[in-house]
Amino acid sequence: MDVTIVDYKSGNISSVINSFKEVAKDKVNIEVTSDLDKIKSSDKVVLPGQGSFKSCIDGLNGINGLIDTLNEFALNNKKPLLGICVGLQMFADVGYEEVETKGLGWISGKVSKIDNQNGKYKLPHIGWNQINIVKDSKIFKDIESNSHMYFVHSYEFIPNDNSVTAATTDYASNIVCAVEKENLFGTQFHPEKSDKLGLKIINNFIKL
């Protein structure tokens, strides 16, 4: 099996690479590439994302044909795809970080700044928070509700249809921190930095 981590210059993805290689060992081939043919032929795709919503979308647009290839992979071929952090946020129709930016539009919704209640909550939301699993998602196999995951973000994905929400976390408000819609999976937290439980989520995705 081939799992491709999309390298589109979205900032630091070495931790994502390290964690997937750790889980995959020699059983699964982990590719890190922006090569369109390799993405097309892979069994699963991981879409990481760091920095701002706009910079990530710009990064995808910076590689000719990449968005079309991802659309085909995710929407037509319906192969499993995992978005992490801004990778998940880009599933939305629109993001409001820096300037209003069009997203991939895979899961209807928007990405807005977390309401910090007039400074009562510090942003970024950095650190270990508990996730409340609200849907029996395949990537949460053997993960209990209230498990701790590592977060670092100031913006949140707000889906229009709550049925896609797989988990939430409490920070200032109830924040959507994982989604599942058919073959699309996304986590706002960083499984690659969430210790053993995070690696388990990665393993669950690889084993899908």
Binding site: S14, N18, K193
Partner: protein, 250 residues
């Protein structure tokens, strides 16, 4: 609920740990990779490396350490010490660091903080502030605490937040190494003034000091010696904080 973080810090010089943990079963007490692994297995919420390598020819040793550690530890890794430029930050991130802490360079040229937080995201830019009491306030120092700057620490903290720092690592130079507790007033002042997380550093000698640090408003507490010398394990520290009703990840 968001938990308060406990961050053990390792001082690394020429690729070796300077102050090591006294664990009998440690194969190589000077190996930062092995020690970081012990911390992360013990429940550390993050790991911090402070590179204190003085000579330029040995500066590259930290990259190898970071690369090896990031393949074994799957919790966030912050690396600081001698970070001068966007290029240095880029290299550390590519080696597997999740955050980079900037001290002297941030004071000399705040544009480094602006540019790097824009380029890499503020989530990976930590500004380290070394502050020392002076008259009624605090003055910041650079170059590992050797050079006074005449700059007010509170004003500087506020400026760094505006420049895009994701977190502030605040060390009291008066308290560092004394094991007499954090400079609580300094932590309170800065935490209440900025809207980004503050990591308290400098002076931890007992577990109660960690409790005091969190109560001062800091989001995370950093300590070196109490973990280095095996006085307490990270897990013991967390259990103690939990017993004092401070939310931690256990």
């Amino acid at each position: 609920m968001l938990k308060n973080r406990i961050i053990p810090c390792l001082d690394v010089k020429n690729g070796r740990v300077v102050k090591g943990i006294n664990f009998v079963d440690l194969k190589d007490a000077g190996d930062p990779v092995e020690q970081a692994k012990i911390y992360s297995d013990g429940g550390a919420d993050e790991i911090c490396f402070l590179d204190i390598t003085a000579s330029n020819e040995n500066r590259d040793t930290i990259y190898e350490v970071v690369e090896k550690t990031s393949k074994k530890c799957f919790v966030p890794l912050t690396v600081g010490g001698g970070v001068r430029s966007i290029d240095d930050i880029n290299k550390l991130l590519n080696c597997g660091a999740d955050k980079v802490s900037i001290n002297t360079a941030a004071v000399q040229n705040s544009k480094v903080v602006e540019d790097s937080s824009r380029k890499f995201g503020s989530q990976c830019i930590v500004v380290a502030i070394d502050a020392k009491r002076k008259n009624d306030g605090w003055e910041i120092f650079t170059h590992g605490g050797r050079n006074p700057t005449g700059i007010n620490a509170l004003e500087f903290a506020s400026k760094m937040e505006k420049c895009g720092a994701g977190e502030l690592l605040v060390t009291s130079m008066d308290k560092d190494g004394t094991q007499s507790g954090y400079d609580i007033e300094l932590m309170q002042k800065i935490s209440s003034m900025v809207n980004i997380p503050v990591i308290a550093s400098g002076g931890v000698g007992t577990l109660d000091h960690l409790v005091d640090g969190i109560k001062s408003g800091a989001s995370a507490v950093l300590a070196a010696s109490i973990f280095h010398y095996g006085t307490y394990s990270v897990n013991e520290a967390k259990q103690y904080l939990a017993s004092k009703n401070i939310p931690v990840r256990i």
